[in-house]
Amino acid sequence: MRAAARLVRVLGLPVALVLAWWAVTAGEDNFYFPPPTTVATTFVDVWVSGRLLDDVLPSVGRLLAGLALALAAGVGLGLLIGLSPRVRAVFEPALEFLRAIPPPVLVPVMLLVAGVGDRMKILVILSGCLWPILLNTVEGARSVDEVLGDTCRCYGIQGAARIRHLVLRAASPQIMTGIRQALSIGIILMVISEMFAASSGLGFAILQFQRGFQIPEMWSGMVVLSLIGVTLSVIFRQVERRVLAWHQGPRKRERAEGVRDA
């Protein structure tokens, strides 16, 4: 009963929206806004066959590669900057400047530097996803609790051990926030980078459909994009629940018991 109620809550609005779309488009014969049934059949025809391998996989691959690089670079640099006030003083103004550049602008630059291949697209995704992860890691690393820091010093947890057992874990809520922001930026940049000089990928496919007036196909591409977004966010939430159990546990308890003093 409870599960059913939850299902209604989660799926209610999407189902209603699709039904509304259907109701509005069913009778008409609008070229630009086909009814959901047409999009659904097109979806199966176009994507379940060859395009899944030819376009979706390369797109997702580049997205994941860009995200992984952004994670490694963002956390690595973020720790370096967050842990040292001196490094921070040198880097912070430059970072503020660099992060203000909208990443899509970099596409033409990257085209010149990295060519038209995967490398350019991965670099564009990296250049956008780096900032939220980097800046959140800096924030997380510099705000490690003082008492915890002293405790680790007292008990000989220094250097790499300190970063592993204290700083990374203490900063993990902020790092996860950064990754969540990077995910949505990454999907946007994945599509945009594929709209320039590409021969495969979702952005390329959608643009191609639009130019060929294959409107239901174009719409179905967008459905694929949102499905990728939803899937990534579900996976992310599972990972987050695991990584931040220590962080969410006490909060859940507090909410259940009402506000309590420390």
Binding site: V147, D150, Y155, G156, I157, H165, G249, A262
Partner: protein, 269 residues
């Protein structure tokens, strides 16, 4: 075992030099339990942080077992007041107690032995798999004590460890720390602002003056070695010592409040 002579600590604060500790000398024999009390803001915590190697003294010699204290040492364990912020929240109770031992280079079997024994000594043997946030404040502080004693320190430093728990838990923890001290025979320096607690626990009570701090009095507590919440606190000698310490602290406060040629600036601790 622990020797502080001529400790002086000044801070530079917004261009002004603030003298927190003027001249403090304390000596602890091996296996002794000494409490440090003083008016609030008198630099008790500063003293403890210097002894822990977390803070470099401006002047003075600090030695442990004859060796100068230059930084945190594997021979020293510290229990902080803020139990909620001194256990790693992402690790279980067991991992919290074990982690320092790992970086002390102890073998796995020895670590297991030490952790088991320490958790048993604080009556937390069943809580190994729990996370700190699942425990009450008193239980978290027990885990912090277990972590300290599992570390096999020569010196145990405690910074107002029971200031943030309720009165009943506090009495339990006081008796617990006495039993742990007897069992492990560890030299203990216990900082507190609670006069009753200092007299109840200590073999000696060191009373500090207001900042800039000097030792106001080093008082031997002549109570029987076995302490008990009921009988010890009902002992006339307990009441007398308590009143004496109270009087000393009041004196220290009043002296600080009077204007003097070199105005003393309170140092928060």
């Amino acid at each position: 075992m622990l020797d502080v002579s001529g400790l002086k600590k000044t801070y530079r604060n917004a261009g002004r030099v603030v003298e927190a500790i003027a001249d403090v000398s304390v000596h602890l024999e091996a296996g002794e339990f000494v409490c440090v009390v003083g008016p609030s803001g008198c630099g008790k915590t500063t003293l403890l942080r210097c002894l822990a190697g977390l803070l470099a003294p401006t002047e003075g010699d600090l030695t442990m077992a004859g060796r100068p204290i230059t930084g945190p040492s594997p021979g020293t364990a510290v229990v902080f007041q803020e139990y909620g912020r001194s256990l790693l929240p992402w690790k279980t109770v067991w991992e919290n107690v074990e982690l320092p031992l790992r970086y002390k280079g102890l073998a796995r079997s020895r670590r297991r032995e030490l952790v088991t024994e320490a958790l048993a000594a604080v009556q937390m043997e069943d809580a190994g798999a729990a996370h700190p946030w699942q425990l009450s404040g008193g239980m978290q502080q027990r885990v912090a004590i277990a972590r300290a004693i599992a570390y096999e320190p020569q010196v145990l430093l405690m910074d107002e460890p029971f200031a943030a728990v309720d009165a009943q838990t506090r009495a339990d923890l006081e008796d617990l720390i006495l039993s742990v001290w007897r069992r492990y025979e560890v030299t203990t320096l216990f900082v507190t602002h609670d006069i009753d607690e200092a007299v109840y626990l200590g073999q000696r009570v060191v009373i500090l003056s207001a900042s800039p701090t000097v030792v106001q009095e080093d008082l031997a507590i002549g109570l029987p070695a076995e302490r008990d919440q009921l009988t010890t606190r009902a002992d006339p000698l307990f009441a007398e010592l308590r009143a004496h310490v109270y009087g000393q602290i009041q004196q220290a406060k009043n002296r600080a409040a009077r204007p003097s040629p070199t105005p003393a600036v309170g140092q928060g601790d």
